[in-house]
Symmetry: D2
Subunit: 270 residues, 4 copies
């Protein structure tokens, strides 16, 4: 069945014939393979143009920053899935990236849209600080968390965010969105009554939007980066499996508080 | 419940405290972010050591080679999923990488194991050509395809495979596994009665095993690379949606050949 | 790391010892297996109580209604995934259900929340018709589709919706939410300037909310039902594979409109 | 591109026009909705024919038996995923069913193929006990687990398996495959040197193959059933979230044994 309007019928990413694969207008095998880095290729794929050296360095920095942070929920889900289904590594990677959501490691895009909203208010004539303050208050009124701020472990400062802003300064990329990100960090204690520092998911859109990377591709950065981390964990899981060890510990942390049939005796092993 | 033996209870990839995130023994924010490329970071994550310049260039070349090949099945599944569920980009990426299987773009690991089997036979004393020939015949006898050979479009030669072998020669990485890969290509016409050329999924393990990359991580290469391609397609899908256009065309290609209730009249729109 | 407040530390669904598995307070093997239907078990799992005969019949009707509708996008994604990765049926099912999103077949929950919003406005004192009209206009003003109305193929009436309302009447379940659903259908032409009939994703929450099924479980109904349809398609795909046939047709429907390197000649086979 | 032979171009499951949806030759809305149970519909979808009362009861029993067993790895992965990405319930269900693999809860199909292998050896003239014994020894020689036997918690007997065989006897369905399943259970101590009892994943294919259900659909039974259990857990997770509680406990169970930079001090919070 025909769903929606279906007016678009073309794509501009890749085509091929038996001899040549074209990617973003280039001959993949003859122009790109062996000549450019994977990070340059990712930028080219997403934007259609080759990055400058500064853009490449900035994108590399964000991908390195967010790729790995130990046994976080998505890594646990991935390793448990491989332990249960070792025949499908792709399934274990998929289970992991499905945890790239709005709460934990997928908030880069939400933070990017938050910065863009402040920027467009200011572009429409508002004072930047007034615009930032108003948007923060609107998020609060709607019961939404401020995306890109606060971290359960790195409460004083997220060292990755700090470093990404340094790289943005070093490369000359830091601009309007970095300014907004640091402005919001400065305003939050007054509005919330407590400090909440910029985290890696806030720093990533700040530096990448300033670098000219599109907001619609922001969620792709943690997704691509974390896939690298997941693969490392799945290589380790094949050698020393801890998926079921983690699952056992997790189940031990939870009590059953429903009813039981007459005579049922719980065991230590839930 | 406690599943399996559960002897392993540790991981060597990452740890952290409020100030510092450790990845593979390094201080992530102070030593790695802004200093190394994402490809170097991926090698470090998977192997625990930094790559040489040649290893990095070889890994970059494979990731660039396999990232994108147009509207292949996994890309279609991904774009259809985003059209249906735009609220979850991570779900669309997951749907795409679930197609990284044994038949289409996930055969790098199978090809790697195929080369390793030939290599270990030869290491045990067999002549290399005899070993290769024997293993090919065993795959055929078991009804298995020869992984890493043949392509539905690039029948004469897969330009990506050709280029990857060139880069392996340029970097001095080409060794035993590249030799096996080209030997098998030479032997296949005599065994199968028709030529079957090395494809990108055969070239990737040949050059990466020679570079010292582990066989258990081979499937991660197409998975990581294709994630980059999927993200580019999903960025495009947000601007010009073709997911339901492709779905309509796909459904039109298939007839219904089951029974129908009395009086049922088919329409053009299946 | 400790994410969030973590106050809850218990679950009331299932516990077990070596002899007995307890599900919702019952002895699974001795009380439920062989004694109740899967639909009754699903209601018990979700709500903690056994359904009445009318509740069971209503839930059965919704599950049967939404399980299957031919080669829709999610089925295509699933069959393409199995063709590419036949080693992991679970991956193909996962790829299919990831398309249960806000646009296509996952709108039952959104429609349920839409009805609940109208109901709570009316419960707070508004006239039901005024409440419905106001909520519809708010959705329109926000640029949101009215969830549960309209269908790309069944424009005059969705026969599944019609039948579900009949079953709700036959079982005596039809109540406030069915009334709201039909009221909105009556109001829409006046507000939108064109008719838009109740579809299956609108009828499901109307009848299930009236049956006492929880709004947080509404999305589970199309998810569970469509899993049954996907499995049927994957059983057929194993016998006669059309995954790559659909993919070929889909790719033929899309033109490449990007640049090409000098001398590149397109082929019929994109 | 055209992958594979592409000879099949039809499907026999469903078609539709604006007034009527046809499923397996029936008018879905007028013949099936409100008239048959979801379990009957699942049988119809998979096999193309309506089940007998005994077949329906047997399928219901297996679906009820395998739907839920507490906080197993797949449920944990699913609840952690919803905690991280509450915007996509379909993603959390997908993450859960990706754990329906060869090791943990997806072994019904492998057990079914094991029984069919024994049956076909016997049908070819071998004594049934000799055939069973030979196939068990072949699995052992290949280093494969015997699918359908043994359970980490229910060591004496899996109460679900016991009950499913009772239902198969009550319904008159028990036949050749149930006989093979119990024969293998009797032979295992002599071959392995220790008892290993039939588990639920062995009982399901035994009773369903005897009921006439196809071997290619066996994996669909735990997949469909566990989807019901996952939905119940995700409804509970929305009310009382334990996803991150489990994740914290899981991470606490694992030590970091890699290197650390000079001066790095671990915290209690890994």
């Amino acid at each position: 069945m025909k769903i929606g309007r279906q007016e678009e019928r073309s794509s501009a990413i890749s085509t091929s014939n038996p001899d040549t694969i074209v990617v973003r207008g280039r001959d993949l095998a003859r122009e790109l393979v062996g000549a450019i880095s994977f990070t340059e290729h990712f930028w080219l794929l997403v934007t259609g143009a080759m990055p400058s050296a500064a853009q490449r360095r900035m994108l590399d920095a964000t991908l390195v920053a967010i790729a790995e942070h130990g046994l976080v929920p998505s890594v646990q889900a991935s390793r448990m899935t491989l332990a249960a289904a070792p025949e499908a590594l792709q399934g274990a990677v998929a289970a992991g990236i499905l945890g790239c959501g709005s709460v934990v490691f997928g908030s880069s895009e939400a933070a990017g849209r938050f910065f863009v909203t402040i920027e467009s208010r200011a572009a429409a004539g508002a004072d930047l600080e007034a615009a930032a303050s108003a948007v923060v208050r609107e998020y609060r009124a709607a019961g939404s968390a401020i995306p890109g701020y606060g971290h359960p472990l790195h409460r004083g400062a997220d060292p990755r965010a700090t470093r990404l802003l340094e790289v943005a300064a070093e490369t000359g990329i830091a601009g309007r969105h970095v300014a907004i990100a640091t402005l919001v960090e400065r305003l939050l204690p007054g509005i919330l009554g407590r400090p909440l520092t910029l985290n890696v998911s806030g720093a990533i859109p700040a530096v990448l939007l300033d670098a000219g990377y599109p907001v619609t591709g922001l969620k792709g950065v943690p997704l691509l980066a974390r896939t690298a981390g997941l693969i490392a964990h799945l290589v380790e899981e094949q050698r020393r499996s801890i998926g079921f060890v983690m699952s056992h510990a997790a189940s031990q942390a939870i009590d059953y508080d429903g009813e039981t049939p007459p005579g049922f005796k719980p065991t230590d092993e839930a």
